[in-house]
Amino acid sequence: MQANTLAILPEISLAVLAALLILIDLRLKPERKALLPGITAAGLLAVLALTLAFARPGAAPESIWGGMLRHDTAAFVFRLIFLFGAAVTCLFTIGWKQVERRGEFFVLLVLSTLGMTLMAAAGDLIMLFLAIETASIPLYVMAGFMTADEKSTESGFKYLLFGALTSSVMVYGFSLLYGFAGTTDLYALAAAVASGDLPPLGLLGALVLVLAGFGFKVAVVPFHFWAPDVYEGAPTPVTAFLSTASKSAGFAVVVRFLLAVFPAAVLPQIIGVAALMSVLSMTLGNSAALAQRNIKRLLAYSSIAHAGYILMGVAAASLLGAASVVYYLAVYLVTNLAAFGVVIIYFNVVGSDEIKDYAGLSRRHPGLAFALLVALLSLAGVPPLGGFFAKILVFAAAVEAGLIWLAVAGVLNAILGLYYYLMVLKVVYLDRGPDEDKPLPVRRAHMAALVVCLLLVLALGTVLGPMYDWSNLAAGGLF
């Protein structure tokens, strides 16, 4: 019983943090409300420390709380990823006028993180559904948070419509799965699937319906339509959170579902579906990104392409594949947060997200330009940054699984990706802007968050050992 309680310590402390934030927001004097993002970030980092100290799983994965949750390394590593992403997002909201003084925004952020940690640990269809909705519903509100802004409300509205539609399709898929197997427990479902008594075609149909819901969360083709619009309209800190933590949470579920519950040995068609979605996402994301003039839309299409690379690891359907997914997500989270950090800092000063307005950034603030350089090169997969090793891992997983054509498509896409990242860097470094001699103030909190992210990008590309070991343990814990 006590071990069970310790295992959900992150969730308990997140719920306590959310309640505390409501109280703090009530008691705080209006002129001190600007402290809220810092308080939330500190609280999230405290939860991260508590998780590291007390909620480590044992060597063998366990089912706890009557099978509702799984206590394994996969859930543990993903929790750390979400908590870090949420904390950095909070730091980046400092200075975002419509958001930084609104306590309810940070309560929603913490509750959404709570949903994500449950998504990573869910061991039952009921829990999984509730976790996905707990993570999503606050995000709808956060995307539409700037109610006076036409784009923000539209972004929240579109996100909600797509989210509600795909989640209802997903629930229909869940109900069919329940009908086939007669259980809502994921691992009992896995045993029923492995026994081979269930009709494979029916299972595949139900799985496709379920994948609509998951595909929406991770924004892969053909469930990606919402992403560019929502990313562009939402407050940029929310966009950063959506494209990193929310996507990782979706993949935590995809990996568990496709590798542990529906092993490719029973349903070989899954590999084909995942590989097809992967190649479509990469190609469509990268080629649409080429034509973008708005940096947030460009990063949105780039995030669709990255979802494609990550799906390559899922399609490999092996231990290495699952480990590469975890590693890629960790790298992608810190890299994309750094890229969005620069976008947020620049928008706070200049008030524009157009790529052409980035001209002269390198002369105006060399440090910020360098941060963008490192982040974009890591997204492109240039050594010695984290993105390079992450790409090597997913390509290796695809080759090991015999999907050589998929790996070749991935390499070609990486080259295509390099082109548009370099186009942005060309504007930043070579083009001359009108305001080059004006100062560009950067807040200390922003700089600190940016430096931490960049150090991690570099560390994940050079000191591979610790994260790689964790990824392997996480992959092993799924089964």
């Binding site: 709808y140 539409g144 109610t147 036409e150 539209e154 399709v169 629930v171 109900s175 560019p228 839309r297």
Partner: protein
Amino acid sequence: MVPVQYFVGLSAILFTLGALGVLTRRNAIIIFMSIELMLNSANLLFVAFARAFEALSGQIFVFFVMTVAAAEVAVGLALIVAVFRTKDTINIDEVSSLRG
């Protein structure tokens, strides 16, 4: 006792009707109602299977789906009001300032 296949058929019809509504209607509130229909078709299936298996978990699932649907509608209507305030319309064809 009505065989479970009948329920599966009925829920498939409801689900299709809901999906068609989402695809063809332009009014945000009607789209929302269609999504509710899709959710309820899944609920019907859960209850039918729960009775067929004589297991409770399906029925419990339905309770949670209903709760979540209510939360989603609350957020959805709030967002629809916010959109109406900025654009004076809830026709989804006219809510399209984000393009590229």
